[in-house]
Every structure is written in structure tokens, then in C-alpha cells.
């Protein structure tokens, strides 16, 4: 198999799949002496700057439309509502503290977790129950799903910024209410 043939095959495989494709799945189709990672790297290079790009996500690679085309594509492709700020914060807590119980989430945010928020995250398939904590009451533990990684274009959970890095510039990194942006964020929440 020539390199070009391997590239065609990888292209077809990743294009066809609804979910990210791992290097292992590709290597099963390639001759022994060919490196799947190298083929995928070459494929990524070929698609760089095009309307469709190869990105790493959820333990594999996936073709996705280029981000700069989103405003035009949204005119024809139906897009679900964005998650409200409350849901995003809850999701962030679950991502960083998983497996985590509902009382722990509420403790961190300093306020109750509404059914609506939980439903929205479950509905979007971003979180899932991960057993129960063996403490009195046996509360359900929550964690993120593989779809969480796919949706936010993360290779794995280690790609999340470290807590220390998040705290470095707390004011710049956070939505500042003084600047009026805060009230906008609040408006989308309610």
C-alpha cells in the first residue's frame, strides 16, 4: 500500500464514522509496517485550512467544519440552544471534581442545583451517573461522558486547564459584571 493509498483509506474511514476514530481502528486496516499516527498526521496536514478539518477529540480524530464558517453554516443548519451559564458552571464542577455528588456541587456553587440544569446536562448527554458514594444516603456520583470530550473538542480530561492556571488571572479570565457583560450572561440564564 502506498502512502497515498493509506491516506485515502484513512480519509474514508474517518469521514464515514459518526464518532471519533482512534489510531488503533485505522492501524487494523493498514499494513503492519505503516504507522497509523503518521498517516493521520499527514491527513490532518492535508486538510489544514480547508472547510473541513481533522481535529483530535475524545480519544481519536474526527472531521469537523472549520470554526470560522460557523456564522454562515448556522443560517442553514439547525443549532440547539447554547447551555446557560449555570449549566456550564455545573458542568465545569463535574468535569473537575468527578465523581461528585449533588450536595458537593451545591457546596461549591454555594447554591442549590435545579432540576432544570441537571436535565439539560443529561439531555445533552454530557454527564452520566457513575455509581453511588458508599456513605449514608448513598448519593449518586456524577461524571462526564465521552460525548463531553467530543462536544468540546478535548482529547481527554487532562486537556482541561489546571486549576492553578485558572486562578492566575481570576479577574481577566472571568466574566466581569462591571463591564456589563455580566448582566448579559445573567440575562441568558433566566
Amino acid at each position: 500500500m502506498t502512502e497515498e493509498e493509506a491516506l485515502r483509506l484513512a480519509e474514508a474511514l474517518v469521514f464515514a464514522s459518526a464518532a471519533p476514530v482512534g489510531a488503533r481502528a485505522l492501524s487494523q486496516l493498514l499494513p503492519q509496517n505503516m504507522d497509523a499516527d503518521a498517516v493521520l498526521a499527514a491527513l490532518r496536514e492535508r486538510y489544514a485550512g480547508r472547510g473541513v478539518e481533522l481535529v483530535e477529540a475524545g480519544g481519536g480524530v474526527q472531521f469537523r467544519t472549520a470554526a470560522d464558517l460557523a456564522p454562515l453554516l448556522r443560517k442553514v443548519i439547525e443549532v440547539p440552544r447554547r447551555l446557560p451559564r449555570v449549566a456550564m458552571e455545573t458542568l465545569a464542577i463535574i468535569a473537575y471534581h468527578q465523581p461528585v455528588t449533588r450536595p458537593e456541587i451545591e457546596e461549591i456553587r454555594g447554591t442549590g442545583l435545579s432540576q432544570q440544569t441537571l436535565d439539560a446536562l443529561l439531555e445533552a448527554n454530557l454527564i452520566a451517573p457513575k455509581g453511588r458514594r458508599e456513605t449514608p444516603g448513598r448519593p449518586t456520583l456524577w461524571g462526564t461522558t465521552p460525548e463531553f470530550l467530543t462536544q468540546f473538542g478535548l482529547k481527554d480530561l487532562r486537556e482541561l486547564p489546571r486549576r492553578e492556571d485558572l486562578l492566575l488571572e481570576p479577574i481577566a479570565a472571568s466574566p466581569s459584571r462591571e463591564a456589563g457583560e455580566g448582566s448579559e450572561a445573567l440575562a441568558t440564564d433566566h
Partner: protein, 252 residues
């Protein structure tokens, strides 16, 4: 914080996600590193906001008031210098500062996540993925366990059927045997053991012996009438029977 600032915060109170959210907002307003904020100043600002809300008789949820009470306690501890109470207060202040940092980090993480191109929002995967998998259902899933269960089930149902339709101990009468011999005679190829003419499905040995006796009697009766021939090679040997029509004559 001036009085007017506190008043404008009161008007926006329901925009905050609970007391901690307000505290974080106030802390950010101090515009310093969260590690260096003045908890005492923070407490006073929070209490000023709550006081302002009370003044205009804004109804506050319980958690706002619980936090206010706790912060008032914290303030009283922090104001007494060099005492065991102050130490207690400083520990509590540290806990509060840590919680604010945690919330701040989560806020930043949520913003970081929200800024990423989201699948289905900002970037799109293939709208019509192709499925190259094929399901092959030709093979059978067989295991000895299910074979055994099926066998037991069949045997048990047999019992149940019998229970619901109890079979009498049927004694095969000579009349029955005569009828059966008459019907089956035509299909006899050659000498056949008399036992082959016993009815199917005889259960107990008792029934079998009775049926054999009846069949022998019927055979003798028919042989006497000349319809069949009977033969026994030796004493207690099998009794053979065949149609009288056609075939080579042999000793009866």
C-alpha cells in the same frame, strides 16, 4: 463601597446565584488577587448589601440571611485581636477565601469551556455518516445450559399435561388388539414380532404385559380365522406374525 454602590447591588440581588456568588462579585470588585482580599472588608460589604435590602423590605431567601448571620459572627471574631476567638475567626476566614477561590476557578473553567468551539454549535460533524458495519445473524448461539433447560422444560410440561388430563390405566382389550391387527396387517412385509403391534405410548410395564396378552389372544383369534399366521421358534421366544395372503408357506 459607597452607599449608592450598595444600593445598586441590592437592586440586582436576584441576578446573583446565591450569597457566594455575591461575595465573589464583591471580592472581584476589590480588584486584587483573590489570595489577598480583605475578608473583613468583604464581610462589611456583604452586610451592607443585606442591610440595604432590609431597608427597602426586599424579601430575601433564607440562605442570604444564613450567610449574613455567619458573616456577622465572623466579623465579631475578626475584630477581637490576639485572642483565641480571633484565631477561630481567621480559620473561618481562610475557609471562606478558599471557597471563593474554588468558585472563581470553576467560573474560569466554565468560561474556558464555553470559549471552545462546540460540536453542533460552532463546528459540525458529518451530517450523514456512513455505516459500513454489517450484522451477520447467520450463526446460532447455542450452549449446553440452554439445551438442558429446554429439555427439563419439555419433560416438566409433559408431567403437567398429564396432571391436567389424567390418563386412565388403559388396558388394551382384545377388541382393541383385533382392530389394530386388522388395520396394520396389510403393511406387513414379512414375519414381524407380535410386540410390534402393541399400541404406541404404553407407559408402565403392567400396561405392556396386558397389551401383549390381548394382542396374543387377538392373534390367535385371527389365525384361527385364517387371516394371519403365527410362529414361535422356541419356547418363550418372540412370537412372529404375518399375513396369510401370499408368501411362502411355512409351518405354523
Amino acid at each position: 463601597m459607597s452607599a449608592s454602590e450598595a444600593d445598586s447591588l441590592v437592586l440586582r440581588l436576584d441576578g446573583f446565584e446565591g450569597p457566594l456568588d455575591l461575595l465573589l462579585d464583591l471580592a472581584r470588585a476589590q480588584k486584587v488577587d483573590l489570595a489577598k482580599i480583605s475578608i473583613l472588608a468583604l464581610v462589611e460589604q456583604y452586610l451592607a448589601v443585606i442591610e440595604g435590602a432590609r431597608r427597602i423590605r426586599l424579601e430575601l431567601a433564607a440562605d442570604w440571611l444564613v450567610m449574613a448571620a455567619w458573616l456577622a459572627w465572623l466579623k465579631s471574631r475578626l475584630l477581637v485581636p490576639d485572642s483565641p476567638e480571633a484565631e477561630e475567626g481567621e480559620l473561618a476566614a481562610d475557609v471562606l477565601a478558599a471557597r471563593l477561590r474554588d468558585l472563581s476557578a470553576i467560573r474560569a473553567a466554565a468560561v474556558w469551556l464555553g470559549a471552545r468551539p462546540q460540536l453542533g454549535q460552532d463546528v459540525f460533524a458529518r451530517g450523514a455518516p456512513e455505516d459500513h458495519t454489517e450484522i451477520d445473524r447467520s450463526r446460532l448461539a447455542l450452549d449446553v445450559g440452554s439445551l438442558m433447560r429446554a429439555y427439563l422444560q419439555a419433560m416438566r410440561r409433559q408431567v403437567r399435561t398429564r396432571r391436567y388430563q389424567p390418563r386412565q390405566l388403559t388396558l388394551w382389550t382384545v377388541k382393541d388388539a383385533l382392530q389394530r391387527l386388522g388395520v396394520l396387517l396389510g403393511s406387513l412385509p414379512d414375519w414381524t414380532s407380535l410386540e410390534r403391534f402393541l399400541p404406541d405410548g404404553i407407559g408402565s410395564p403392567t400396561e405392556r404385559r396386558a397389551a401383549l396378552a390381548s394382542t396374543l389372544l387377538a392373534g390367535l383369534e385371527m389365525a384361527r380365522g385364517g387371516a394371519i399366521r403365527l410362529r414361535q421358534e422356541e419356547a418363550f421366544g418372540p412370537i412372529l406374525v404375518r399375513s396369510a395372503a401370499g408368501g411362502v408357506e411355512e409351518g405354523a
